[in-house]
Structures are given as C-alpha cells and as structure tokens.
Amino acid sequence: MNLECNQVWEHISGYLDKQLDADLLAAVKKHLESCEVCSAVLDSTRNILVLTADDRTYELPVGYSNRLHARLEAVIKTRSG
C-alpha cells in the first residue's frame, strides 16, 4: 500500500503510540524512509512529546508539599476533633 503525505500525517500519533496494525505500519515506515517532510513532522512531534514528559517541563512550586499537608492537617484535625 502506498500512502500520500496527508495519509501518513493521520497516523503519526498511532505510529508514536505503537498502535498501527502491521500492514499500515509497514506502509507508514516505507513512506517515511523516502519522505523527508513526513520524517520531519514525525521527529518534531516526537520531540514535543519527549519534552512534555520531561519532569522539568512542569515543576512543582517550592514548598508546595508542605503547604498541602499543612492545609490537609487542619481539615483532618477539624474532622476528627
């Protein structure tokens, strides 16, 4: 099966999540080998996801945990007291 670029774009997410069935996966891979544009779309999307999953992208505020537990403690005390 031969895919056009716009057909490949529809499957970028499925490709990254390893959810394409064997035939489709083979077709997407074949297209990617010869298409620099689609490879770039794939690479850039993947880079975004790598960056997204990086813990340093979303950081907790300093003291967050302490403040959270202090507030919880007040609620818990009120309830059991």
């Binding site: 774009w9 850039s44 979303y58 403040r67 959270l68 309830r79 059991s80």
Partner: protein, 210 residues
C-alpha cells in the same frame, strides 16, 4: 502500580475510613505531583493550580468513602482534579481559549501539520531549552479545552487510554482522536521553536521510539 502496591493502597484507604485519618497524608503523597501538574497544565496559573490541588485533596479526603475500588485511586483523584480545573477555568475563561479556531477542520482527523523544508538547518540563534519549555506550557494552555484535557492526561501524566477515558467520561476512540489532534496542533504551534532541537536520543526515552 503492581498488585501488591495496589493491595497496600486499598488497605491504607480502609484504615483511613476506619478512623485513622492521619494516614491520609501517606495515601496521597505519591499523587501530589499528578494532581498539581494536571491542574496547572490546564490553567497555567501557579496560584490557582496550588489552591486547586489543595481543594482536590481535601475533597478526596471528605469523599473517600465514595471511592470504589474498581477504579484506580490515581484515576479517581485525577477525575476530581480535572473537575476542579474545569471549575476554575470557567471563572478565568481566558481569551486564549478562542485563539485556536476549532472550526477549520471538518472532522477531528482533519489537520495539516507544520511542514518544514529547512528542518535540517540549525538557526543561528538557538533557543534555550528553558524558553522552549515555556513555549510548550503556553501552547498546551492554548489548546481548546477538550483537546487540552486529553493531552494533559495522556502525554503529561502518562495515563493510559482507558484511564484517560474513565477520568474524562468519554470513550477510548475519542481519546485517540483528540490526542492526535492535540499533538498535531502543538506540532504546528511549536515547530518554529523546535528547529534548534536535535532529535532526542533513542534509548533514553524509549517510549517514543520503535
């Protein structure tokens, strides 16, 4: 979470419900980050996110008896956090929400990614990673809400499809469709800033390579 850890967690929940309220601190400790980041990624406001995270945990404490063991505790917490974020979003309702036109595509699968012709070129002024992260946070916050929610749970919190579907009350197919669209919107928004990024190393982030 493995079965043993889940059993321990259920035991902890039972003890909290039986009156050992202090143990609630231990129960939620593994999920502090999950709850904060979920709300922050939706709202992109530290103060609101922190307050929302506190309210989420308080609500979880007060309603713990309504937790049903068949769902994962983390998914249950995420559901509360998501509702808290939505409630706050209604109040803030940023202009950014409307900045991306949802109506351009007829179907959810219809999109055009940013196509780079100069992908291999490294620009003279490379953006600092710090700035790129900020751009990413901004762009996530700009996504239309229904796409943003799925993206936050799947790609930031790394919940699986079923958990995401359960937390949002939608089906798995919709999760897939919205996630794909969210990713493509982000790709389009971020590509101008990504050009300076070398492709990530295989092995280090194995999840994204096959």
């Amino acid at each position: 979470m493995n079965t043993a850890a889940k059993t321990m967690e259920l035991a902890l929940i039972a003890r909290v419900l039986a009156g050992e309220s202090e143990l609630f601190h231990e129960l939620i400790r593994p999920y502090e980050r999950l709850v904060y980041v979920t709300i922050f990624a939706i709202l992109k406001n530290e103060t609101e996110a922190e307050d929302g995270a506190q309210e989420t945990m308080i609500s979880a404490f007060r309603n713990l008896k309504s937790f049903r063991g068949e769902a994962k505790f983390s998914t249950w917490l995420v559901t509360i956090a998501m509702n808290e974020a939505r409630k706050r979003l209604r109040k803030v309702k940023t202009a950014a929400e409307n900045s991306l036109d949802e109506s351009t595509g007829q179907g959810d699968g219809d999109f055009t990614p940013a196509v780079l012709t100069d992908w291999r070129e490294i620009p003279l002024e490379a953006l600092e990673r710090k700035e790129l992260k900020e751009k990413l946070r901004e762009s996530v916050a700009m996504l239309p809400e229904k796409y943003r929610e799925v993206f936050v749970l799947r790609d930031i919190e790394e919940l699986n499809q079923e958990e995401t579907a359960a937390a949002l009350g939608i089906n798995v197919t919709l999760v897939k469709v919205r996630l794909h669209r969210a990713r493509m919107m982000l790709q389009k928004l971020l590509v101008p800033y990504l050009k300076s990024q070398a492709p990530a190393r295989e092995g280090f982030f194995r999840r994204w390579f096959q």
